[in-house]
């Protein structure tokens, strides 16, 4: 019953949003705000001729590459800084610096230094995300339960087993938090990277449509991409989290 009514409320809210959009489009009657149906037609056409899947695929590949890179480096640094006071002191100011560099600056510098190449694009996105991952994971590494570390040490289970079965499970909630906010941040930055220096991907397309003043296509790409990201969140991250948290009461 509770589920049914919450689904109903969600459906109603979606319909309301579409209605407002339609109403505004009728009122404004301009190319700047195409009505929902027109956007839907552009979307269907784009999916049919393969344009939208192609560019979303390219963008997703960049998101995936930068995401994996940022998570791997961020988690490693986060653990190291959370466990070692010396390393924490050494890298803390670097962290503050990188946290505060605007994404746009990193992107431009990467393109200037390494050229308009794929590696520069992915590195720029990863560099933007790494500091956030480090901060979140470091918090987790600082709060590791010393009882469990003593257990691992007194039974001599070894470094590899300790990392995999004692440390990482404790860090998991922090890694998931970093991954969630990471995905949201990364795909937005990837679009900027594509706009500034790539010749394909959703960001590039949006920029092209901006120059053509084709707002319907911009809407179509945005909606398609948001849908894909939502699917990744519900079909990928959420079940993974549920599986790893199954021991919780």
């Amino acid at each position: 019953m509770a589920f049914k009514s919450s689904a109903l409320i969600r459906a109603l809210s979606l319909v309301a949003l579409l209605a407002i959009w339609q109403l505004l489009a009728l009122l404004v009657e301009s190319r700047a705000l195409p009505p929902p149906l027109e956007v839907f037609e552009v979307l269907v056409a784009g999916v049919k001729d393969g344009e939208i899947p192609y560019h979303i695929g390219i963008t997703l590949a960049r998101v995936a590459a930068s995401f994996v890179l940022a998570m791997a480096i961020g988690v490693a640094f986060g653990i190291a800084m959370g466990r070692s006071k010396g390393l924490d002191r050494f890298f803390d100011d670097w962290l503050i610096l990188f946290l505060n560099i605007p994404a746009l600056v990193t992107i431009i510098l990467c393109y200037v230094w390494f050229g308009l190449i794929e590696a520069a694009a992915i590195a720029a996105v990863a560099i933007n995300k790494i500091p956030n991952v480090v901060v979140t994971v470091r918090e987790g590494a600082r709060s590791l339960n010393p009882d469990y570390m003593e257990l691992a040490q007194s039974f001599h289970i070894g470094g590899g087993k300790t990392l995999r079965h004692v440390i990482l499970p404790q860090l998991f909630p922090f890694v998931v938090a970093a991954a969630r906010s990471g995905l949201a941040l990364i795909w937005k930055i990837v679009l900027v990277v594509e706009l500034l220096g790539r010749s394909n991907g959703v960001g590039f397309q949006v920029y092209t449509f901006f120059q053509l003043f084709d707002v319907a296509s911009i809407f179509a790409y945005t909606l398609a991409f948001v849908a894909v990201v939502q699917v990744i969140e519900t079909a990928g991250l959420q079940p993974l989290e549920a599986r790893v948290n199954r021991w919780r009461r």
């Binding site: 009882d147 469990y148 003593e150 257990l151 040490q153 007194s154 039974f155 001599h156 289970i157 087993k161 079965h165 004692v166 499970p169 790893v244 021991w247 919780r248 009461r249």
Partner: protein, 252 residues
Amino acid sequence: MAPVTHLEIDIRQKSYPQVGRAPAHLALEGLKMTLQGSEFVCVLGPSGCGKTTLLNLIAGLDEAYEGRIALPLAPGGRRPVMGYVFQNPRLLPWRTVVENIELVLSPEQIRSGLVDELLAATGLEAFRHTYPERLSLGLERRVALVRAFAVQPDVLLMDEPFVSLDEPTAQRLRLLLLQIWKDRPTTVVFVTHNMREAIQLADRIVLLSPAPGRVLADIRVGIARGDRDDTADIEAFRDRLIRENPALYREL
């Protein structure tokens, strides 16, 4: 060369440095004791006398002390294996009972069937795949006991493993411990502040002073193991202990 089977402890001094406004603390000073192979020794002392500190030093968790601890040499000259039953069970909540036990075992030990044997002996078979948060404290303590025995320790350290259980449960676990230990003898250092528990379990009781802990008395429990089910014998021994060692009564 015959393997060295005894555990020799000679701690000149163990202190904890000052932290913030908490002053430095001298935990142990001039503490000497020797345990023979497969001997069950209870270390009895008041709260805060450094009993847990002593176990952590033996376990190698803390190396910042003056003195020497010589562990028994295991057969074949390998490093002696330690089993540690902590005061709280310290089971990893994200691993089931059997996963918690297998975490500390080698692949050969996992294959050997010893875990099944121990789980059966402790009545834990039904909880094999249960997560610790669903177990009662008494059951968690059983798992911790099985985990420590499953490594086939040369030295078994136990830190008040039955504290904060109701007395019947604690008593069941003590008998279980004695049963497992009889089948798989090993040198045991069992820390407690419960005199009756010490008399029931130990070959020998080592009495520690308040901090800084040192040995006040070393008492052989002269009751045959078969007669210890009789509480009257234990009470009589306890009365005699208190009479002969007035310090005991003062401290506990």
